[in-house]
Subunit: 127 residues, 2 copies
DNA sequence: TCTTTGTTATATCATCACTATAACAGAAAG
DNA sequence: CTTTCTGTTATAGTGATGATATAACAAAGA
């Protein structure tokens, strides 16, 4: 479990944690049923406050990526909600692709970028 | 010039302004050389403070979407920097697509989403 | 001269991110 | 039963940020 935090980033620590763990799930570094470190453990590992980790876990629970078990702590449990995910992504991508398009990035180049990223999450030979 | 602000959003007003104007450029609502309203005008139109608009214009200048002309105010002037744009997009998209992938959204569905968004920015029949 | 432009300088207020302690109940292990 | 670990809750302080309110200035244009 390798989680690196950029303390110079303007992105909040707890958000970096959330993102990092979600990417970890996507890359199959974490699997459904796996338990994350306890809030105190992870806080000590990274060198931050317990509540910052707790907030990240709370967000992950809220967003449907983990369930909190009083005995085992935060356990990976991904809610599949394709429609919701597509709707959320659409708004954000609209703004991101407006930027790329203005800067001269073509539709084709974006498709290639999508493939490059999705290759990290699903083996090509599987489909 | 229609700019709507969601005052209930957790996204900062100046960031909403920046995003809205960039999308406006992408959809060719604004063209290179067009002048945006003065900071005071736009602030009055929206009903917000002058400095909030000023900050948005400052960010747009920093990111290379407008140039500030003391006579004409903020003028659309897009810096083309494909490589920089691709690099910036890659980081953000990595996290976004991690989310969609976890939620069961397939690579194909993402490609379709990309096409739907890019259709708003470039006419299909042009290429 | 009068108006409008961007620019700069203060000051205030609310919210947020993060930290620091502290205490509690539930569960597991000795 | 006691100890230890878990998440949970509460409270408080600090620093940064977003937004507001005034105010004043120089440059440009009518």
């Amino acid at each position: 479990m390798l989680i690196e935090i950029d303390f110079n980033s303007s992105e909040a620590i707890y958000e970096q944690l959330v993102d990092r763990i979600i990417v970890g799930i996507a890359t199959e570094e974490f699997h459904d049923g796996d338990a994350l470190p306890s809030v105190r453990q992870l806080a000590d590992m990274i060198g931050i406050n317990m509540h910052t980790v707790n907030k990240a876990y709370g967000v992950l629970q809220q967003e449907g990526f983990v369930k909190i078990d009083r005995r085992r702590g935060a356990v990976i449990a991904v809610d599949i909600d394709k429609l919701q995910a597509l709707r959320e992504a659409e708004d954000i991508l609209g703004v991101i692709f407006a930027r790329t398009h203005c800067r001269g990035v073509t539709r084709k180049e974006v498709h290639e970028l999508v493939d490059r990223i999705y290759d990290q999450y699903e083996r090509k030979d599987v489909r």
